[in-house]
Amino acid sequence: MNFHRLLTSAFFVTWLAASLRLSGPVLLAALGETFAECSGVLNVGIEGTILLGALASFLTAYVTGMVWMSLLAAMLTGVVFNLLLAWMYVTVRASQVVVGLVFNVLALGIAATVYRRALGESAGPQSVAMFPALHIPWLSGLPFLGPVLFGQTILFYLTLGLVLLAHVLLFRTRFGLALRAAGENPSAADAAGISVARMRYTGVLIGGATAGMAGAYLVLAQIGLFRESIVSGQGFIALGIVIFGRWSPWKAALAAIVFGACDALQLSLQLTGVNIPPQLLLSLPYIVTILAISGLFGGRAIQPAALMVPYAKD
């Protein structure tokens, strides 16, 4: 074993930079999911929405080569499919876990079928244009901090901005108050003149837009190609992050970075040639998420009181 190689500054720089880069998609997905959950909807279908967002951004980038257009296409796809989900959750009032789970299978089917139709059966993996890493003048030249904080893609900084926006929207506006009221006590919210259904639709649609963005982030800022296993549970991890972050955007950001660090550890350790089975490291993000939401630490999370409870106006 050559553990001394781990203690170099180069190792930490690559590890931390990758941690931030990898935390982006789950953070984006978790931000929108926070809105959905605060309004009273647990959206297990987030995994499928991310996958469809990834597919939409990939196909748009493949055809047009324009990254911003692809990001927009992914967001639109997320909103359209989440409209369907919101209808099932809010209007039909079906079980949220069931609908979300079945939707994920549907999304997998759609993604596999459409991808094959678009690229043909025999085509190998095709790469597309990606967001370049920004090199902010002067700042990115800083030792250590430069490459970690100031060498990310623009999507990362956009995500950080959205954390701030989400916090302000949720806790500093009338809209946020109404949204949270719909998730805490829908009948009281209803009596106060808030449309619970509209709030929940809005929550799920915001979740769709950011989940679509998360899919685009995976394609346009991380790997540059599409495969059916591209999401591999990151939507579910985002759900865990929302719980671990106690339904607060900036705490979710911290949780997402912890997740990103686990994920990045595997990449960085492979580069140093330390002999650990890759599967052990790959399972780390899932195990950390399990422990974080197991209730073993810090008691039971206080979730929105009406989470997963459909509301029927009499």
Partner: protein
């Protein structure tokens, strides 16, 4: 008078439920036929092809039974856990854990291995017990987190799937790997294979196990005090607690049964079909099984028909992919759309249609 009017309470006669379900299935098939058109196929012919191979050919029917067995076992596990109020979604993990435990045991009974060859019937019971125990523990840990610490079993069980799949990936690329280019174990000794039960097909004894399990689950849920306690705990935990039922304990027990059933699905797949352990052995069956349980409306007796239908669809889709080049992933779409539409069709029962509103209003002339 309006043509479509909202009812005060949804109509819940069996006829209305059957009608709305029929509408749902037709709607799902219509939407899927748009995809067939996308591939330049005639939808009617495509549906014919989808159902001909699995249900109208002897060989295909054998494959249908092969696909049915694991789906039915996982659906039964779903029913036991969900009706007990334990929203377990970790069957993909239980499946591969069961498959791994079974493969390890079967490989140990190869000539010259740790245990050595055993007569078939002595062997048969051992993998079933070991696999059931492994799956039960795997799901039981999640139940313990829920019962003791209030963790969210829905999300935790989803995460455990990935951990289980990575464990199997490690096993087949490391300790259990057979020499050769592909990460997989050696073929299991022929003596450990499940016998084939229909001449000229690949149908194996796993389907008998699924039938037996269906009967056992139905009897124990419907006819025993334990089943009663499980279902009451699921319907109303606090009422159950007042009634003197140890709800937490029942939850863990339900998870044991569910995980065990899910692992048996893996055993059946390894001993009946694949005859070796490899990465990606589950192929989403852990989720399709849950969908089968939903289609069966969580009724054990409806599991076998639902599983035969969905298993058959998978077989038909594979045949369609070979012949017409339509990707088999289209079945995922059809299978999930049917359940989504059935769920959505509940909304139909909230409205009534007033045909009287269509008639022209006759105005009486007044002077």
């Amino acid at each position: 008078m309006k043509l479509i009017e909202r009812r005060v309470t949804p109509v819940d006669s069996p006829f209305a439920i059957a009608c709305s379900m029929a509408v749902a299935v037709v709607a799902a098939m219509v939407v899927t036929s748009l995809l067939f058109v996308l591939y330049g196929a005639n939808p009617l012919q495509a549906y014919g092809a989808l159902f001909h191979e699995p249900f109208a050919t002897w060989r295909g029917f054998g494959y249908t039974l092969v696909r049915t067995a694991p789906l039915a076992l996982i659906a039964l596990g779903t029913i036991v856990s969900w009706r007990s109020g334990f929203g377990y979604l970790g069957f993909e993990g239980c499946f591969v854990i069961g498959a791994a435990a079974t493969s390890w045991l079967a490989l140990s009974t190869a000539p010259g291995a740790a245990i050595g060859p055993l007569p078939f019937f002595a062997f048969l019971l051992m993998p079933l017990l070991l696999s059931f125990a492994a799956g039960a523990l795997w799901a039981g840990v999640v139940a313990l987190m829920r019962a003791r610490f209030g963790g969210n079993e829905v999300l935790i069980s989803l995460m455990t799937n990935y951990v289980a799949i990575l464990i199997v990936q490690y096993l087949v690329s490391g300790p259990m790997r057979a020499p050769g280019g592909v990460p997989e174990t050696a073929q299991l000794p022929r003596a450990t294979w499940l016998p084939f039960i229909l001449h000229g097909t690949r149908a194996h004894a796993g389907i008998l196990l699924a039938l037996l399990a269906t009967l056992l689950v139905w009897v124990s849920l419907r006819k025993t005090p334990l089943g009663y306690e499980l279902i009451v705990s699921g319907l109303n935990p606090s009422a159950a607690r007042f009634g003197g039922i140890d709800v937490g304990g029942r939850l863990v027990l339900a998870a044991f049964l569910a995980g065990g059933l899910g692992a048996l699905a893996g055993t059946v797949e390894v001993l009946g079909v694949q005859h070796r352990l490899m990465d990606g052995i589950s192929g989403g069956v852990g989720f399709t099984g849950i969908i089968v349980a939903l289609l069966a409306k969580l009724n054990p007796l409806a599991v076998i028909p639902a599983a035969v239908l969905y298993g058959g669809m998978t077989v038909g889709a594979n045949a369609m992919q070979r012949r017409a080049g339509i990707p088999s992933s289209i079945t995922f779409i059809l299978q999930s759309l049917i359940v989504l539409m059935v769920l959505a069709s509940d909304i139909l029962r909230r409205y009534r249609v007033n045909l009287a509103a269509l008639r022209p209003v006759v105005k009486t002339e007044t002077r």
